[in-house]
Every structure is written in structure tokens, then in C-alpha cells.
Amino acid sequence: MAAFQPKITAFVCNWCTYTGADLAGTSRLQMAPEVRIIRLPCTGRIDPLFIIKAFERGADGVIVSGCHPADCHYNHGNYHARRRFAIFRDLLDFVGIDPRRVIFSWVSASEGGKWRDVVDGATATIRELGPCRTDTGDEGQGRLACAS
């Protein structure tokens, strides 16, 4: 059987992490290729439903990343996001969806190296946890995050 190739969705903010990921690319940093980036204006725009949807549609892991506290382009979008994600993580844990599958980080526009570390770290974690088990009967679509 071929080695497990995880699918990881990254929701990143336009101003810091996306630019940081761009920097990692232009700096020719080598990193795991399993991450698909979705660019959003701000971490404050990332509804927890985006993350649920990613899992529904077959992601094995999700990265959420944006500006460091006090660095938000919109002043405090990331502070609002931080509260929301804190609660969301508790909820995931309580219903038995492994919160290690959702990785939160702050990566600034100048931290190409940190972005590589986040991506490599996330890929390693998800590889270890294995694929999201299919609980819903139909293959492919219909996958849902659940306990590892």
C-alpha cells in the first residue's frame, strides 16, 4: 500500500502568513507539498465552519494562520479570531474530533522559515494521526474528522 499522503488545508490571512508563505517560496525553502493554501483577508474572516467544511470535504488536517497579535492589518481581527478558535478547539475536543488536526499559528510576512516549520510540523502530525476515518458510509466526500 502506498504511504499515506495527507491532505491539509491552510486558511491564511492575506497580510502576514500568505506573504510569509510567498517569502518561503521565493527563498526556495523546501517544505512538505501536502498543504493547499486558501487566502482570506484576515484570520477574523475564518469562520469555524470553514474548518468543518474542509474536514467534510476530505481534509485530514487544517492549518489556520495569520498575523501575530498586535500586527493585524485590521487592528484586531486576529484577537477576535483567537477567542473564537479557543472555544472551537474546546468544542472539537469535547465531541471527540482530535484538536491536533487543527493547527493554529501566527506567521508574519517576514517569517518564511517559520511557515516552513509550521507546514512540516503539521504534515508530520497528520501523518502520525493517519487519515480521517470515514464514518458516514460514502467514500471520498463524506469524510468527517474524528478521533485518530
Binding site: Y79, A86, I87, L91, F94, G96, P99, G142, A147, S148
Partner: protein, 289 residues
């Protein structure tokens, strides 16, 4: 009871309000009642069977209730917290409603327990109730009862939290699987007041509308999240659920999370801002790399 009926009659007579929303005897139990005449006011009751959260009639989606005129609502502790939630979220103006507080003895539900008549027990949520006697009210009637006794909701949250993660998922996925997506939990909730619910939107469709596990999980997670820091623990969602999904436990866990992280308890003081939509620069971020 006398006290409540006389007060309702007085308010109606003075034309201070046009309708008093309370409970009346009906069948083998009680039901919400809308007293607009003195005769109707004389039928109002309040006891351990009055589980319904009447604050749900105050939210702006219930236009047919608003048409009845200025209401007075009989509120238990949890109902007053719900009314405070509506005021906090700018859905209700304090001066638009008269709140008749009742000293709540705690509600009884089905299920055997020692000492209570007719195969009844204290509702778990009433055992864990932070404040049974409302402070957000214009009038206060009734008498204190004995302290409710039982395991309470926290015990159930803890029991689940202690299970291994796979077993927690097994518990919740089998509960969510039973969901028929009737949205009774949403309709009955005093704080689900959006004009158009996220679950009813189809472009884009964030929550699949068929009663399939995919959409069911998304719906229940979204519903619980949207009530984080707002849920008052009245347990109406669970009571209305035809599939017996233990929504109160899910809500209780999130309120616990909000309490521990942001030191917020949904009280009946509308001037305390809701924790979501606020932030502190030094909020915990132990989970962020």
C-alpha cells in the same frame, strides 16, 4: 399563585401591558398562555411543571407576539437571563417589556427519584442553575422552594470529558446521527434570533440541509458555537428535540469553556458584554504556535 394572578390582573387593568405571557393548566400539564383579559389572567399558574422559557416570545422574529401589544412575561431565573441576553444583543429594549420574576423552585422532569411525587426528578439544569431567583425583573412573586437535588449537568460534562476521545466521538456521532434536522432546537431557543439562519442559506451552503451525518455534525457544531457565551442553560433545545440529542451537555461544556477562558457567565445583567465580539489583548493562546 394568587399573587401572580392579582399582579397580572392589575397590569392588564391599568393597561400597562396588553398581554401577560405565563402558563396555564392544559391536559395533564401546563402550556404557555397569553392572557389578554382578566378571566384569562385568573387562569395563570406557576409551579415545577412550567419548564417553557417564555423569553423566547420576546425575540424579534416573533412578530405575531409583538402584534399583541406590550407584553408582561413571567420569568424564572433562566428566562430572565435569556431576556437579558436579548437586551445585551440589542434585540429587545428593556422598556418594551414588563418582567414578572418568579422565585423558581427548580423544574421537575420525567424520571423516577426518591421523594418527588409521580415519577419525577429535578431537571439536571436546575440542579446546576447559577441563579434561580431573577434580579432582572419589575415584580417578584412566589416563594422559595427546597434546593434542587441531583447530579447536575457538570457531572455529565465531566463524565464525558473523562472518556477517551474515540468514545466521545462515538457518543456524539451516534447522537447527531439521530438528528432529523427539524430545527426545533433553533425555533424554541430564545437566543437564536437571526432573521435568516445560516442553516437555511443555500448560496453558499455551509451546512448541508439533508439529515445526513455530514450536515448534522456541521449543524450541531455551528449551533453550539453560535450560542457560546449566550446560552442561558434553559434546556429548551433539548426538551424540544424529537430525537433526544443531549444538547444541554454540549451547551454546558461551551459555557464552561467561556467561563474558564473569559470569566464570563451569562447572568441576567444585560450591561455585562458578551465574551464573543469582545477580546482582551492578553487572552490565552496556549494552543497557537
Amino acid at each position: 399563585m394568587r399573587e401572580l394572578r392579582e399582579l397580572a390582573a392589575r397590569l392588564l387593568e391599568a393597561n400597562d401591558v396588553q398581554v401577560v405571557i405565563g402558563w396555564e393548566e392544559w391536559g395533564r400539564g401546563v402550556r404557555p398562555a397569553f392572557a389578554r383579559t382578566l378571566a384569562e389572567a385568573d387562569r395563570l399558574v406557576f409551579d415545577q411543571r412550567c419548564v417553557h422559557n417564555l423569553a423566547t416570545y420576546l425575540h424579534p422574529r416573533r412578530k405575531h407576539i409583538r402584534r399583541l401589544g406590550r407584553p408582561a412575561v413571567v420569568v424564572k431565573g433562566c428566562d430572565a437571563r435569556a431576556a437579558a441576553g436579548l437586551i445585551r444583543d440589542n434585540q429587545l429594549r428593556r422598556e418594551d417589556v414588563v418582567l414578572i420574576g418568579v422565585r423558581c423552585p427548580g423544574m421537575w422532569v420525567e424520571g423516577g427519584a426518591e421523594g418527588l411525587p409521580g415519577d419525577r426528578k429535578w431537571a439536571d439544569r436546575c440542579v446546576s442553575c447559577p441563579q434561580r431567583t431573577p434580579t432582572l425583573c419589575d415584580h417578584l412573586v412566589g416563594e422559595d422552594g427546597p434546593e434542587p437535588d441531583g447530579p447536575g449537568l457538570e457531572a455529565q460534562v465531566e463524565r464525558l470529558q473523562a472518556l477517551p476521545m474515540a468514545e466521545r466521538w462515538a457518543f456524539w456521532s451516534s447522537a447527531f446521527e439521530r438528528c432529523v434536522r427539524c430545527y426545533a432546537c433553533r425555533e424554541v431557543c430564545p437566543l437564536c434570533f437571526c432573521d435568516r439562519c445560516l442553516a437555511d442559506k443555500s448560496v453558499p451552503q455551509w451546512i448541508e440541509s439533508s439529515p445526513h451525518q455530514r450536515g448534522n455534525v456541521a449543524w450541531h457544531l455551528a449551533r453550539a458555537l453560535h450560542l457560546a457565551g449566550r446560552c442561558v442553560g434553559c434546556g429548551e433545545c433539548e426538551r424540544a428535540c424529537p430525537a433526544g440529542i443531549p444538547l444541554s451537555i454540549l451547551n454546558a461544556r461551551l459555557q464552561q469553556s467561556v467561563r474558564e477562558r473569559f470569566e464570563f457567565v451569562a447572568s441576567d445583567d444585560p450591561s455585562v458584554p458578551s465574551p464573543i465580539g469582545q477580546f482582551r489583548v492578553d487572552d490565552g493562546q496556549e494552543f497557537i504556535r
